[in-house]
Symmetry: C3
Subunit: 181 residues, 3 copies
Protein backbone atom coordinates (compact mmCIF):
# COMPACT_ATOMS: atom_id res chain seq x y z
CA UNK A 1 0.00 0.00 0.00
CA UNK A 2 2.78 2.39 0.96
CA UNK A 3 4.49 1.46 -2.27
CA UNK A 4 1.45 2.28 -4.32
CA UNK A 5 1.25 5.70 -2.78
CA UNK A 6 4.88 6.31 -3.54
CA UNK A 7 4.47 5.44 -7.18
CA UNK A 8 1.52 7.73 -7.55
CA UNK A 9 3.22 10.57 -5.76
CA UNK A 10 6.11 10.47 -8.18
CA UNK A 11 3.85 10.85 -11.17
CA UNK A 12 2.07 13.64 -9.37
CA UNK A 13 4.97 15.98 -8.78
CA UNK A 14 2.91 17.99 -11.21
CA UNK A 15 1.38 20.57 -8.93
CA UNK A 16 -2.24 20.58 -9.95
CA UNK A 17 -2.59 16.85 -9.38
CA UNK A 18 -1.62 17.30 -5.75
CA UNK A 19 -5.16 18.41 -5.01
CA UNK A 20 -6.47 15.00 -5.94
CA UNK A 21 -6.32 11.79 -3.95
CA UNK A 22 -3.65 9.44 -5.33
CA UNK A 23 -5.02 6.34 -7.01
CA UNK A 24 -8.58 7.38 -6.57
CA UNK A 25 -8.80 9.03 -9.91
CA UNK A 26 -8.24 6.12 -12.28
CA UNK A 27 -6.84 6.97 -15.67
CA UNK A 28 -6.04 10.53 -14.75
CA UNK A 29 -3.82 10.10 -11.76
CA UNK A 30 -1.16 7.89 -13.21
CA UNK A 31 0.45 10.04 -15.82
CA UNK A 32 2.79 8.16 -18.16
CA UNK A 33 6.43 9.19 -17.83
CA UNK A 34 8.09 7.09 -20.52
CA UNK A 35 7.68 6.76 -24.27
CA UNK A 36 8.99 5.00 -27.33
CA UNK A 37 8.53 5.35 -31.06
CA UNK A 38 7.26 2.64 -33.38
CA UNK A 39 6.65 2.42 -37.11
CA UNK A 40 5.59 -0.27 -39.55
CA UNK A 41 3.96 -0.98 -42.89
CA UNK A 42 2.46 -3.90 -44.76
CA UNK A 43 -0.09 -5.14 -47.26
CA UNK A 44 -3.35 -6.75 -46.19
CA UNK A 45 -6.43 -8.58 -47.44
CA UNK A 46 -8.67 -5.62 -46.54
CA UNK A 47 -7.90 -2.04 -45.41
CA UNK A 48 -8.35 -3.02 -41.74
CA UNK A 49 -6.15 -6.10 -42.20
CA UNK A 50 -3.47 -3.92 -43.80
CA UNK A 51 -3.71 -1.56 -40.82
CA UNK A 52 -3.53 -4.51 -38.41
CA UNK A 53 -0.53 -5.96 -40.23
CA UNK A 54 1.24 -2.58 -40.13
CA UNK A 55 0.68 -2.51 -36.35
CA UNK A 56 2.17 -5.99 -36.01
CA UNK A 57 5.09 -4.88 -38.19
CA UNK A 58 5.56 -1.89 -35.87
CA UNK A 59 5.66 -4.18 -32.84
CA UNK A 60 2.44 -2.90 -31.27
CA UNK A 61 -0.10 -5.17 -32.97
CA UNK A 62 -1.04 -7.30 -29.99
CA UNK A 63 -2.17 -4.55 -27.62
CA UNK A 64 -5.26 -2.41 -27.32
CA UNK A 65 -4.15 1.00 -28.51
CA UNK A 66 -6.23 3.88 -27.21
CA UNK A 67 -5.73 6.99 -29.30
CA UNK A 68 -5.31 10.30 -27.55
CA UNK A 69 -4.55 13.88 -28.37
CA UNK A 70 -0.97 14.18 -28.28
CA UNK A 71 0.97 15.47 -25.32
CA UNK A 72 4.28 14.26 -23.94
CA UNK A 73 3.93 14.35 -20.13
CA UNK A 74 6.50 16.44 -18.25
CA UNK A 75 9.78 14.73 -17.49
CA UNK A 76 9.11 11.81 -19.82
CA UNK A 77 12.09 9.84 -20.95
CA UNK A 78 12.54 7.76 -24.06
CA UNK A 79 12.92 4.02 -23.54
CA UNK A 80 13.77 1.16 -25.85
CA UNK A 81 10.72 -0.45 -27.46
CA UNK A 82 9.80 -3.59 -25.55
CA UNK A 83 7.14 -6.25 -25.85
CA UNK A 84 4.02 -4.67 -24.39
CA UNK A 85 1.74 -6.88 -22.29
CA UNK A 86 -0.62 -8.69 -24.68
CA UNK A 87 -4.04 -7.08 -24.77
CA UNK A 88 -3.11 -4.21 -22.44
CA UNK A 89 -4.77 -0.81 -22.82
CA UNK A 90 -2.04 1.48 -24.11
CA UNK A 91 -2.26 5.25 -24.66
CA UNK A 92 -0.82 6.12 -28.04
CA UNK A 93 -0.60 8.95 -30.55
CA UNK A 94 -0.35 7.84 -34.14
CA UNK A 95 -0.53 8.61 -37.82
CA UNK A 96 -1.67 6.06 -40.38
CA UNK A 97 -2.44 5.93 -44.05
CA UNK A 98 -4.17 3.15 -45.94
CA UNK A 99 -4.30 3.07 -49.73
CA UNK A 100 -5.66 0.78 -52.41
CA UNK A 101 -3.97 2.60 -55.29
CA UNK A 102 -1.42 0.18 -56.70
CA UNK A 103 2.02 1.75 -57.03
CA UNK A 104 1.27 4.68 -54.72
CA UNK A 105 3.87 5.49 -52.10
CA UNK A 106 2.31 6.31 -48.72
CA UNK A 107 4.00 7.45 -45.54
CA UNK A 108 3.22 8.03 -41.89
CA UNK A 109 5.30 9.93 -39.38
CA UNK A 110 5.30 11.17 -35.80
CA UNK A 111 7.42 13.77 -34.06
CA UNK A 112 7.95 14.32 -30.35
CA UNK A 113 8.97 17.81 -29.29
CA UNK A 114 10.78 17.74 -25.95
CA UNK A 115 10.86 21.01 -23.98
CA UNK A 116 13.98 22.41 -22.32
CA UNK A 117 12.11 22.74 -19.05
CA UNK A 118 11.35 19.22 -17.74
CA UNK A 119 8.42 20.56 -15.73
CA UNK A 120 6.61 21.46 -18.93
CA UNK A 121 4.89 19.06 -21.27
CA UNK A 122 6.14 18.25 -24.73
CA UNK A 123 4.05 17.80 -27.83
CA UNK A 124 3.46 14.96 -30.26
CA UNK A 125 2.47 15.59 -33.86
CA UNK A 126 1.25 13.08 -36.43
CA UNK A 127 1.13 13.30 -40.20
CA UNK A 128 0.43 10.87 -43.01
CA UNK A 129 -0.04 11.30 -46.74
CA UNK A 130 0.90 10.01 -50.13
CA UNK A 131 4.61 10.77 -50.51
CA UNK A 132 8.03 9.67 -49.43
CA UNK A 133 8.99 9.30 -45.79
CA UNK A 134 11.63 12.03 -45.92
CA UNK A 135 9.02 14.63 -46.87
CA UNK A 136 6.50 13.39 -44.33
CA UNK A 137 9.07 13.34 -41.53
CA UNK A 138 10.16 16.88 -42.40
CA UNK A 139 6.57 18.11 -42.30
CA UNK A 140 5.68 16.41 -39.02
CA UNK A 141 8.86 17.77 -37.39
CA UNK A 142 7.96 21.29 -38.47
CA UNK A 143 4.46 20.78 -37.04
CA UNK A 144 5.88 19.79 -33.67
CA UNK A 145 8.29 22.72 -33.70
CA UNK A 146 5.45 25.10 -34.52
CA UNK A 147 3.32 23.76 -31.66
CA UNK A 148 6.13 24.48 -29.20
CA UNK A 149 6.73 27.94 -30.62
CA UNK A 150 3.02 28.71 -30.30
CA UNK A 151 3.09 27.66 -26.62
CA UNK A 152 6.16 29.78 -25.97
CA UNK A 153 8.11 26.70 -24.85
CA UNK A 154 11.85 26.46 -25.49
CA UNK A 155 12.66 23.39 -27.53
CA UNK A 156 15.29 20.89 -26.37
CA UNK A 157 15.01 18.45 -29.24
CA UNK A 158 12.65 16.78 -31.70
CA UNK A 159 12.59 13.00 -31.92
CA UNK A 160 10.84 11.60 -34.98
CA UNK A 161 10.24 8.59 -37.15
CA UNK A 162 8.53 8.03 -40.49
CA UNK A 163 7.90 4.96 -42.58
CA UNK A 164 6.80 4.49 -46.17
CA UNK A 165 5.05 1.78 -48.14
CA UNK A 166 4.67 1.17 -51.84
CA UNK A 167 1.17 -0.15 -52.35
CA UNK A 168 0.68 -3.44 -54.20
CA UNK A 169 -3.03 -3.97 -53.62
CA UNK A 170 -4.02 -2.71 -50.18
CA UNK A 171 -1.26 -1.19 -48.09
CA UNK A 172 -0.83 0.67 -44.83
CA UNK A 173 1.83 2.81 -43.19
CA UNK A 174 1.77 3.45 -39.45
CA UNK A 175 3.89 5.51 -37.05
CA UNK A 176 3.24 5.92 -33.34
CA UNK A 177 4.40 7.29 -30.04
CA UNK A 178 3.58 4.84 -27.25
CA UNK A 179 3.29 6.26 -23.75
CA UNK A 180 4.24 4.11 -20.83
CA UNK A 181 4.74 4.28 -17.07
Amino acid sequence: MAKKKNVVKKSNRVKSAAESIPGQNGITMTIPDKFFLAAGHDEGMTPLNAFDNALVNAGVGNTNLMRMSSILPPGSRQIEPFKLPLGALIPVAYASKVSTIAGEVISAGVAVAVPENPKLNGLIMEYSAAGHKEEIEKIVRSMAKEGMRKRGYKLKEIISVAVQHKVENTGAAYAAVVLWW
Copy 2:
Protein backbone atom coordinates in the same frame (compact mmCIF):
# COMPACT_ATOMS: atom_id res chain seq x y z
CA MET B 1 -13.98 -17.36 -9.28
CA ALA B 2 -16.44 -16.35 -6.60
CA LYS B 3 -14.31 -13.29 -6.02
CA LYS B 4 -14.42 -12.28 -9.64
CA LYS B 5 -18.18 -12.50 -9.65
CA ASN B 6 -18.24 -10.27 -6.61
CA VAL B 7 -16.22 -7.66 -8.41
CA VAL B 8 -18.71 -7.52 -11.25
CA LYS B 9 -21.63 -7.28 -8.88
CA LYS B 10 -19.95 -4.46 -7.03
CA SER B 11 -19.41 -2.56 -10.22
CA ASN B 12 -23.10 -2.78 -10.95
CA ARG B 13 -23.80 -1.06 -7.69
CA VAL B 14 -21.28 1.72 -8.16
CA LYS B 15 -23.04 5.03 -8.09
CA SER B 16 -20.27 7.57 -7.78
CA ALA B 17 -16.53 7.91 -7.47
CA ALA B 18 -16.92 8.15 -3.71
CA GLU B 19 -18.42 4.66 -3.56
CA SER B 20 -16.00 3.04 -5.95
CA ILE B 21 -13.03 0.94 -4.93
CA PRO B 22 -10.08 3.15 -5.82
CA GLY B 23 -7.96 1.85 -8.64
CA GLN B 24 -9.28 -1.66 -8.41
CA ASN B 25 -10.38 -2.10 -11.96
CA GLY B 26 -8.49 0.57 -13.83
CA ILE B 27 -10.50 2.75 -16.11
CA THR B 28 -13.83 1.18 -15.35
CA MET B 29 -14.08 1.34 -11.63
CA THR B 30 -13.57 5.01 -11.07
CA ILE B 31 -16.45 6.71 -12.75
CA PRO B 32 -15.99 10.46 -13.19
CA ASP B 33 -18.46 12.55 -11.20
CA LYS B 34 -17.54 16.09 -12.25
CA PHE B 35 -17.44 17.93 -15.55
CA PHE B 36 -16.71 21.25 -17.14
CA LEU B 37 -17.19 22.80 -20.55
CA ALA B 38 -14.43 24.21 -22.73
CA ALA B 39 -14.36 25.86 -26.13
CA GLY B 40 -11.71 27.48 -28.30
CA HIS B 41 -10.72 28.40 -31.81
CA ASP B 42 -7.64 29.49 -33.72
CA GLU B 43 -5.68 29.46 -36.94
CA GLY B 44 -2.73 27.13 -37.51
CA MET B 45 0.11 26.30 -39.85
CA THR B 46 -1.51 22.95 -40.76
CA PRO B 47 -4.94 21.44 -39.99
CA LEU B 48 -3.52 19.54 -36.99
CA ASN B 49 -1.72 22.65 -35.73
CA ALA B 50 -4.98 24.59 -36.01
CA PHE B 51 -6.71 21.85 -34.02
CA ASP B 52 -3.90 21.90 -31.44
CA ASN B 53 -4.06 25.68 -31.17
CA ALA B 54 -7.84 25.55 -30.68
CA LEU B 55 -7.30 23.08 -27.83
CA VAL B 56 -4.77 25.40 -26.22
CA ASN B 57 -7.22 28.28 -26.68
CA ALA B 58 -9.90 26.15 -24.98
CA GLY B 59 -7.56 25.54 -22.01
CA VAL B 60 -7.19 21.79 -22.60
CA GLY B 61 -4.25 21.76 -24.98
CA ASN B 62 -1.63 20.33 -22.64
CA THR B 63 -3.38 17.10 -21.70
CA ASN B 64 -3.97 13.78 -23.41
CA LEU B 65 -7.62 13.84 -24.36
CA MET B 66 -9.20 10.43 -24.81
CA ARG B 67 -12.41 10.66 -26.79
CA MET B 68 -15.39 8.67 -25.63
CA SER B 69 -19.01 8.19 -26.49
CA SER B 70 -20.79 10.66 -24.58
CA ILE B 71 -22.50 9.96 -21.30
CA LEU B 72 -22.69 12.16 -18.23
CA PRO B 73 -22.24 9.82 -15.25
CA PRO B 74 -25.02 9.85 -12.64
CA GLY B 75 -24.82 12.57 -10.02
CA SER B 76 -22.15 14.52 -11.87
CA ARG B 77 -21.75 18.12 -10.95
CA GLN B 78 -20.40 20.99 -13.00
CA ILE B 79 -17.16 22.53 -11.79
CA GLU B 80 -15.17 25.56 -12.82
CA PRO B 81 -12.57 24.83 -15.49
CA PHE B 82 -9.17 24.41 -13.87
CA LYS B 83 -5.65 23.70 -15.06
CA LEU B 84 -5.60 19.97 -15.74
CA PRO B 85 -2.42 18.05 -14.84
CA LEU B 86 -0.02 18.34 -17.78
CA GLY B 87 -0.02 15.21 -19.91
CA ALA B 88 -2.78 13.46 -17.93
CA LEU B 89 -5.17 11.06 -19.65
CA ILE B 90 -8.51 12.83 -19.65
CA PRO B 91 -11.86 11.44 -20.84
CA VAL B 92 -13.60 13.94 -23.04
CA ALA B 93 -16.48 14.31 -25.47
CA TYR B 94 -15.95 16.88 -28.16
CA ALA B 95 -16.91 18.41 -31.47
CA SER B 96 -14.40 19.98 -33.81
CA LYS B 97 -14.30 21.46 -37.26
CA VAL B 98 -11.25 22.35 -39.31
CA SER B 99 -11.49 24.33 -42.53
CA THR B 100 -9.11 25.70 -45.12
CA ILE B 101 -11.75 27.76 -46.94
CA ALA B 102 -10.78 31.39 -46.40
CA GLY B 103 -13.69 33.45 -45.11
CA GLU B 104 -15.79 30.47 -44.05
CA VAL B 105 -17.39 30.63 -40.61
CA ILE B 106 -17.12 27.33 -38.75
CA SER B 107 -18.55 26.39 -35.37
CA ALA B 108 -18.39 23.59 -32.82
CA GLY B 109 -20.74 22.99 -29.93
CA VAL B 110 -21.50 20.57 -27.13
CA ALA B 111 -24.59 20.13 -24.97
CA VAL B 112 -24.94 18.29 -21.68
CA ALA B 113 -28.42 17.05 -20.82
CA VAL B 114 -28.80 16.63 -17.06
CA PRO B 115 -31.57 14.28 -15.87
CA GLU B 116 -34.00 15.13 -13.08
CA ASN B 117 -33.18 11.84 -11.37
CA PRO B 118 -29.57 12.03 -10.09
CA LYS B 119 -29.32 8.23 -10.17
CA LEU B 120 -29.66 8.24 -13.94
CA ASN B 121 -27.00 9.22 -16.42
CA GLY B 122 -27.15 12.32 -18.53
CA LEU B 123 -26.16 12.65 -22.15
CA ILE B 124 -23.59 14.67 -24.06
CA MET B 125 -24.09 15.63 -27.68
CA GLU B 126 -21.56 17.16 -30.07
CA TYR B 127 -22.07 19.01 -33.33
CA SER B 128 -19.87 20.99 -35.67
CA ALA B 129 -20.40 22.47 -39.10
CA ALA B 130 -19.98 25.53 -41.25
CA GLY B 131 -22.28 28.13 -39.73
CA HIS B 132 -22.66 30.54 -36.86
CA LYS B 133 -22.39 29.44 -33.26
CA GLU B 134 -25.98 30.33 -32.42
CA GLU B 135 -27.28 27.85 -35.00
CA ILE B 136 -24.84 25.12 -33.99
CA GLU B 137 -25.63 25.53 -30.30
CA LYS B 138 -29.37 25.37 -31.01
CA ILE B 139 -28.94 22.17 -33.00
CA VAL B 140 -26.71 20.44 -30.44
CA ARG B 141 -29.13 21.35 -27.63
CA SER B 142 -32.01 19.82 -29.58
CA MET B 143 -29.93 16.68 -30.12
CA ALA B 144 -29.29 16.31 -26.39
CA LYS B 145 -32.97 16.92 -25.63
CA GLU B 146 -33.97 14.27 -28.17
CA GLY B 147 -31.58 11.72 -26.67
CA MET B 148 -33.17 12.18 -23.26
CA ARG B 149 -36.70 11.96 -24.67
CA LYS B 150 -35.77 8.76 -26.47
CA ARG B 151 -34.49 7.25 -23.19
CA GLY B 152 -37.65 8.29 -21.37
CA TYR B 153 -35.61 10.39 -18.94
CA LYS B 154 -37.03 13.58 -17.48
CA LEU B 155 -34.84 16.55 -18.28
CA LYS B 156 -33.60 18.88 -15.54
CA GLU B 157 -31.55 21.21 -17.72
CA ILE B 158 -29.31 21.49 -20.73
CA ILE B 159 -25.89 23.12 -20.35
CA SER B 160 -24.19 24.04 -23.60
CA VAL B 161 -21.44 26.00 -25.27
CA ALA B 162 -20.53 26.77 -28.86
CA VAL B 163 -17.70 28.68 -30.45
CA GLN B 164 -17.16 30.00 -33.95
CA HIS B 165 -14.18 30.88 -36.09
CA LYS B 166 -13.83 32.85 -39.29
CA VAL B 167 -11.18 31.09 -41.35
CA GLU B 168 -8.22 33.08 -42.62
CA ASN B 169 -6.09 30.25 -44.00
CA THR B 170 -6.47 27.15 -41.85
CA GLY B 171 -8.81 27.43 -38.89
CA ALA B 172 -10.34 25.21 -36.24
CA ALA B 173 -13.24 25.41 -33.81
CA TYR B 174 -13.41 23.09 -30.82
CA ALA B 175 -15.93 22.51 -28.03
CA ALA B 176 -15.66 19.86 -25.33
CA VAL B 177 -17.07 18.40 -22.17
CA VAL B 178 -14.24 17.30 -19.89
CA LEU B 179 -15.07 14.61 -17.33
CA TRP B 180 -13.27 14.64 -14.03
CA TRP B 181 -13.29 12.97 -10.63
Copy 3:
Protein backbone atom coordinates in the same frame (compact mmCIF):
# COMPACT_ATOMS: atom_id res chain seq x y z
CA MET C 1 15.05 5.60 -9.99
CA ALA C 2 15.58 1.96 -9.06
CA LYS C 3 12.00 1.85 -8.03
CA LYS C 4 10.78 3.16 -11.35
CA LYS C 5 12.77 0.53 -13.16
CA ASN C 6 11.13 -2.08 -10.99
CA VAL C 7 7.74 -0.91 -12.06
CA VAL C 8 8.60 -1.30 -15.71
CA LYS C 9 10.09 -4.71 -15.20
CA LYS C 10 6.98 -5.84 -13.42
CA SER C 11 4.81 -4.68 -16.26
CA ASN C 12 6.97 -6.56 -18.72
CA ARG C 13 6.26 -9.73 -16.87
CA VAL C 14 2.51 -9.26 -16.78
CA LYS C 15 0.80 -12.08 -18.64
CA SER C 16 -2.80 -11.87 -17.52
CA ALA C 17 -5.14 -9.84 -15.38
CA ALA C 18 -4.66 -12.31 -12.57
CA GLU C 19 -0.95 -11.54 -12.42
CA SER C 20 -1.23 -7.79 -12.63
CA ILE C 21 -1.10 -5.47 -9.68
CA PRO C 22 -4.56 -3.92 -9.69
CA GLY C 23 -4.60 -0.20 -10.10
CA GLN C 24 -0.89 0.29 -9.86
CA ASN C 25 -0.31 1.57 -13.32
CA GLY C 26 -3.68 2.93 -14.29
CA ILE C 27 -5.14 1.81 -17.56
CA THR C 28 -2.27 -0.45 -18.51
CA MET C 29 -1.94 -2.75 -15.56
CA THR C 30 -5.43 -4.11 -15.37
CA ILE C 31 -5.91 -6.03 -18.55
CA PRO C 32 -9.51 -6.99 -19.23
CA ASP C 33 -10.16 -10.74 -19.16
CA LYS C 34 -13.82 -10.95 -20.12
CA PHE C 35 -15.86 -9.86 -23.12
CA PHE C 36 -19.31 -9.83 -24.58
CA LEU C 37 -20.83 -8.99 -27.93
CA ALA C 38 -23.50 -6.37 -28.54
CA ALA C 39 -25.36 -5.16 -31.60
CA GLY C 40 -28.16 -2.72 -32.28
CA HIS C 41 -29.75 -0.44 -34.85
CA ASP C 42 -32.24 2.40 -35.01
CA GLU C 43 -33.37 5.59 -36.68
CA GLY C 44 -32.61 9.03 -35.24
CA MET C 45 -33.30 12.72 -35.60
CA THR C 46 -29.69 13.39 -36.69
CA PRO C 47 -26.77 11.06 -37.59
CA LEU C 48 -25.38 11.28 -34.04
CA ASN C 49 -28.82 10.64 -32.54
CA ALA C 50 -29.21 7.59 -34.79
CA PHE C 51 -25.81 6.37 -33.59
CA ASP C 52 -26.79 7.04 -29.97
CA ASN C 53 -30.09 5.21 -30.41
CA ALA C 54 -28.31 2.22 -31.97
CA LEU C 55 -26.03 2.11 -28.91
CA VAL C 56 -29.05 2.15 -26.60
CA ASN C 57 -30.62 -0.59 -28.72
CA ALA C 58 -27.40 -2.61 -28.36
CA GLY C 59 -27.56 -2.22 -24.57
CA VAL C 60 -24.41 -0.11 -24.27
CA GLY C 61 -25.89 3.36 -24.72
CA ASN C 62 -25.48 4.61 -21.17
CA THR C 63 -21.74 4.15 -20.79
CA ASN C 64 -18.68 6.00 -22.01
CA LEU C 65 -17.27 3.80 -24.73
CA MET C 66 -13.57 4.27 -25.40
CA ARG C 67 -12.61 2.88 -28.78
CA MET C 68 -9.42 0.86 -29.06
CA SER C 69 -7.53 -1.15 -31.60
CA SER C 70 -8.79 -4.52 -31.32
CA ILE C 71 -7.12 -7.24 -29.36
CA LEU C 72 -8.71 -9.92 -27.22
CA PRO C 73 -6.49 -10.23 -24.13
CA PRO C 74 -5.06 -13.70 -23.42
CA GLY C 75 -7.33 -16.07 -21.55
CA SER C 76 -10.41 -13.90 -21.98
CA ARG C 77 -13.73 -15.58 -21.55
CA GLN C 78 -17.09 -14.66 -23.00
CA ILE C 79 -19.72 -13.55 -20.50
CA GLU C 80 -23.39 -12.79 -20.79
CA PRO C 81 -24.12 -9.14 -21.56
CA PHE C 82 -25.02 -7.33 -18.37
CA LYS C 83 -26.02 -3.83 -17.45
CA LEU C 84 -22.78 -1.87 -17.41
CA PRO C 85 -22.31 0.77 -14.68
CA LEU C 86 -23.90 4.00 -15.93
CA GLY C 87 -21.30 6.43 -17.23
CA ALA C 88 -18.36 4.04 -16.74
CA LEU C 89 -15.35 4.21 -19.05
CA ILE C 90 -15.49 1.01 -21.09
CA PRO C 91 -12.93 -0.24 -23.61
CA VAL C 92 -14.67 -1.36 -26.76
CA ALA C 93 -14.01 -2.33 -30.36
CA TYR C 94 -16.83 -1.54 -32.73
CA ALA C 95 -18.11 -1.11 -36.25
CA SER C 96 -20.84 1.36 -37.13
CA LYS C 97 -22.55 2.68 -40.20
CA VAL C 98 -24.85 5.67 -40.46
CA SER C 99 -26.84 6.42 -43.60
CA THR C 100 -29.35 9.00 -44.73
CA ILE C 101 -30.25 7.20 -47.97
CA ALA C 102 -33.88 6.11 -47.57
CA GLY C 103 -34.35 2.44 -48.34
CA GLU C 104 -30.68 1.54 -48.08
CA VAL C 105 -29.80 -1.55 -46.06
CA ILE C 106 -26.75 -1.00 -43.85
CA SER C 107 -24.96 -3.48 -41.63
CA ALA C 108 -22.28 -3.59 -38.96
CA GLY C 109 -20.45 -6.64 -37.69
CA VAL C 110 -17.66 -7.70 -35.36
CA ALA C 111 -15.73 -10.96 -35.11
CA VAL C 112 -13.60 -12.25 -32.25
CA ALA C 113 -10.92 -14.75 -33.16
CA VAL C 114 -10.00 -16.88 -30.15
CA PRO C 115 -6.58 -18.60 -30.25
CA GLU C 116 -6.03 -22.24 -29.32
CA ASN C 117 -3.24 -21.20 -26.94
CA PRO C 118 -4.83 -19.30 -24.02
CA LYS C 119 -1.54 -17.53 -23.35
CA LEU C 120 -1.78 -15.76 -26.69
CA ASN C 121 -4.04 -12.86 -27.51
CA GLY C 122 -6.99 -13.09 -29.83
CA LEU C 123 -8.06 -10.56 -32.40
CA ILE C 124 -11.17 -8.47 -32.97
CA MET C 125 -12.17 -7.29 -36.40
CA GLU C 126 -14.86 -4.77 -37.32
CA TYR C 127 -16.63 -4.14 -40.60
CA SER C 128 -19.59 -2.08 -41.72
CA ALA C 129 -21.04 -1.25 -45.12
CA ALA C 130 -24.17 -1.04 -47.15
CA GLY C 131 -25.38 -4.61 -47.51
CA HIS C 132 -27.09 -7.41 -45.67
CA LYS C 133 -25.85 -8.68 -42.35
CA GLU C 134 -25.05 -12.17 -43.66
CA GLU C 135 -22.51 -10.72 -46.12
CA ILE C 136 -21.00 -8.35 -43.57
CA GLU C 137 -20.69 -11.08 -40.96
CA LYS C 138 -19.02 -13.39 -43.49
CA ILE C 139 -16.52 -10.68 -44.42
CA VAL C 140 -15.67 -9.71 -40.85
CA ARG C 141 -15.16 -13.36 -39.90
CA SER C 142 -12.76 -13.83 -42.81
CA MET C 143 -10.88 -10.70 -41.69
CA ALA C 144 -10.44 -12.10 -38.18
CA LYS C 145 -9.35 -15.47 -39.56
CA GLU C 146 -6.80 -13.76 -41.81
CA GLY C 147 -5.38 -11.73 -38.90
CA MET C 148 -4.75 -14.93 -36.95
CA ARG C 149 -3.22 -16.69 -39.95
CA LYS C 150 -0.90 -13.71 -40.47
CA ARG C 151 0.23 -13.92 -36.82
CA GLY C 152 0.82 -17.67 -37.12
CA TYR C 153 -1.68 -18.33 -34.34
CA LYS C 154 -3.80 -21.48 -34.36
CA LEU C 155 -7.48 -20.63 -34.32
CA LYS C 156 -9.81 -22.15 -31.74
CA GLU C 157 -13.01 -20.42 -32.84
CA ILE C 158 -14.51 -17.26 -34.24
CA ILE C 159 -17.40 -15.62 -32.38
CA SER C 160 -19.28 -13.00 -34.36
CA VAL C 161 -22.38 -10.89 -34.61
CA ALA C 162 -23.81 -8.60 -37.26
CA VAL C 163 -26.89 -6.45 -37.41
CA GLN C 164 -28.66 -4.71 -40.28
CA HIS C 165 -30.94 -1.72 -40.63
CA LYS C 166 -33.18 -0.55 -43.44
CA VAL C 167 -32.94 3.23 -43.49
CA GLU C 168 -36.11 5.29 -43.32
CA ASN C 169 -34.60 8.75 -42.93
CA THR C 170 -31.44 8.59 -40.84
CA GLY C 171 -30.41 5.16 -39.63
CA ALA C 172 -27.51 3.50 -37.87
CA ALA C 173 -26.21 -0.02 -37.38
CA TYR C 174 -23.75 -0.81 -34.60
CA ALA C 175 -21.87 -3.93 -33.49
CA ALA C 176 -19.35 -4.09 -30.68
CA VAL C 177 -17.11 -6.23 -28.55
CA VAL C 178 -17.10 -4.93 -24.98
CA LEU C 179 -14.07 -5.79 -22.84
CA TRP C 180 -14.52 -6.23 -19.13
CA TRP C 181 -12.64 -7.34 -16.02
